[in-house]
């Protein structure tokens, strides 16, 4: 029209029509997604070949040739995974050297923890405030008393007997619970209007971010005793836990700062104009938005923290990985397939926890997304 004649007048209105029906079914889907162009077809074939090359040996190793039961190395000599080894060492892997007669305490603490976390994680369950109070105040005290035996008349179990998955989880939960609030405080400090607060926060963040975690752990283990007065000891596990928590709070601070920077100035001004105090502004207006923006970054940091708990191995503590590694030294189980099995198993356990965290964060993001549509 436009080319031939510059004027136009709609002769009759166009009624709305249904959108065209898409081509559905598996064959069109394959054609559209995997074989849509020569390049796509070649890629698909290459990937399939690669999978055919890698998957069957893996299945053979993990399942077909694997030894599932047995008392010692004799069952694990034909090259498959040695799951019997995991079965034989399962208590060591879960609890470390925690005295067998006292292991029920670890189980009780785990149950108390799950009882607090599950209702907190399900958005529909009411009473979140009490849930948080329980998890942050009551649970740590109960857990401390039960696990160490201090103050409840149970047998004292020093932390050098703690180990395995139990220590991995204790360290990771402690790190996660400390690093987020501390990171938020540091991020706010770094944006403070008071120069001293700003410099101190920035200095603290850059100090911890600039040093490898392994070096921090070594320093805490060999240097701290030099500075402490003689006779004063500082629990080694607690030291390691604090190092990890503080180290990751520096990373967390930068993640949170990224979120704060994404909040428009108008949000600050809007809340100021209503007469909300600084703390109210942060808590009710700024942080809920800033933290939502950076959920992927926060979870990313949690996952990194979770995996890095295995570094406490370098100062002689035995987390899940350390315990498995030391268990492979058992001469009763000296077999080439035992270390491979041990590390694959450790990897699998770490992966399950981290993948769980990741899926949960995606669930929460979707939920928040549904609530409010973007502008």
């Amino acid at each position: 029209m436009a080319g031939e004649d510059a004027t136009f007048l709609r002769p009759a209105p166009i009624p709305p029509r249904a959108p065209p029906r898409g081509v559905r079914g598996p064959i069109p889907w394959l054609r559209r997604n995997l074989f849509s162009s020569p390049a796509n077809t070649v890629t698909t074939i290459l990937v399939l070949l690669f999978l055919a090359w890698t998957i069957p040996p893996l299945i053979r190793w993990a399942f077909i040739d694997a030894a599932w039961t047995g008392e010692d190395r004799s069952v694990c000599l034909d090259g498959g995974a040695c799951w019997a080894f995991i079965g034989a060492k399962i208590n060591l892997i879960l609890y470390g050297q925690y005295p067998p007669a006292e292991r029920w305490r670890v189980v009780v603490v785990a149950v108390l923890f799950i009882a607090g976390v599950v209702p907190l994680a399900i958005p529909k369950v009411p009473g979140k405030r009490w849930n948080v109070v329980y998890l942050l105040i009551a649970f740590p005290v109960i857990a401390f008393m039960l696990l160490t035996g201090i103050g409840v008349g149970l047998r004292h179990v020093p932390t050098d007997r703690w180990g395995g998955l139990f220590v991995t989880l204790v360290t990771a939960v402690f790190g996660i619970v400390i690093s987020l609030p501390l990171g938020i405080l540091l991020a706010l400090g770094r944006r403070s209007r008071l120069p001293v607060v700003r410099w101190l926060s920035a200095g603290f963040i850059e100090l911890w971010r600039g040093v490898p975690l392994v070096a921090v752990l070594f320093m805490a283990s060999v240097m701290l005793p030099i500075f402490l007065p003689p006779g004063v000891t500082f629990d080694k596990l607690l030291r390691a836990m604090l190092c990890i928590a503080i180290f990751y709070s520096a990373y967390m601070a930068e993640v949170v700062r990224g979120g704060l920077q994404a909040i428009p100035k108008g949000q600050y001004e809007g809340s100021m104009a209503l007469g909300l105090s600084f703390l109210q502004r942060m808590r009710l207006v700024i942080m809920p938005q800033a933290l939502t923006v950076v959920i992927p970054g926060i979870v990313n940091t949690f996952i990194a923290l979770f995996k890095d708990t295995s570094l406490i191995m370098v100062i002689g503590l035995f987390d899940l990985l350390g315990m498995l590694k030391s268990a492979t030294n058992d001469s009763d189980w000296a077999s080439p397939s035992v270390p491979a099995t041990a590390y694959v198993f450790a990897g699998l356990i770490f992966w399950i926890f981290c993948f769980g965290l990741s899926r949960y964060s995606i669930f929460i993001e979707r939920r928040l997304e549904r609530g409010r549509q973007r502008r």
Binding site: M272, A273, G275, L276, Q289, R372, R375
Partner: protein, 254 residues
Amino acid sequence: MTVTDRSAATSATAIEMTGVNKWFGAFHALRDIDLRVRRGERIVICGPSGSGKSTLIRCINALENHQSGRIVVDGIVMSHDHQRIDEIRRDVGMVFQQFNLFPHLTILENCTLAPAWVRKMPRAEAEALAMRFLERVKIPEQANKYPGQLSGGQQQRVAIARALCMSPRIMLFDEPTSSLDPEMVKEVLDVMVSLAEEGMTMVVVTHEMGFARQVADRVIFMDEGQIIEENAPEAFFTNPRHERTKLFLSHILR
């Protein structure tokens, strides 16, 4: 400031600015501002972009700090003291060009937030209050939506309702209709006119000259950080005295 001399001071004067100066770095943004707004008075401020209109009204609720001069709002002398500033902000409502609603809260929650946390009002009472003001701005049916789901005009009316929920004695408006599509400007101006009719003290930065003529008691023209001219609306528009006012009006009244 005690209760008695505060009520005495507020009886006649809502805002008093004396010799107010403000710099951004070396840039002199407000120069010797003297302004007295009586209780119940409606002031419209206009002027070219960058003339300091926003800076001036943002000084009234301490979103900007002035460096010299004296500002008294509702009988409270402005100082750097946080408590003093929060006290002033509770009495002064502000509506922004960009609405500045909280996108993570529903419309109702936007309105109840400050009454609940600043005035410590019980939740049910705060919600009833919020619904009353949402009805006033004619959008009670949107109460449970989120700001992102509303049109610009609706959002701005929510912003007005949100400010009113704090029962302010003074309302500041900074170009409340400038980022709205033309057909939404009227719905916001209607709310402002009805507010003016109820006797609210209002300071409005706007280029809506129809609104100025209809409700303003005084129109103030600013340029380069100074108050250039001040007059009743009729006289201001029909008989501007300063050259710069004439030039400005010739641009916007074409």
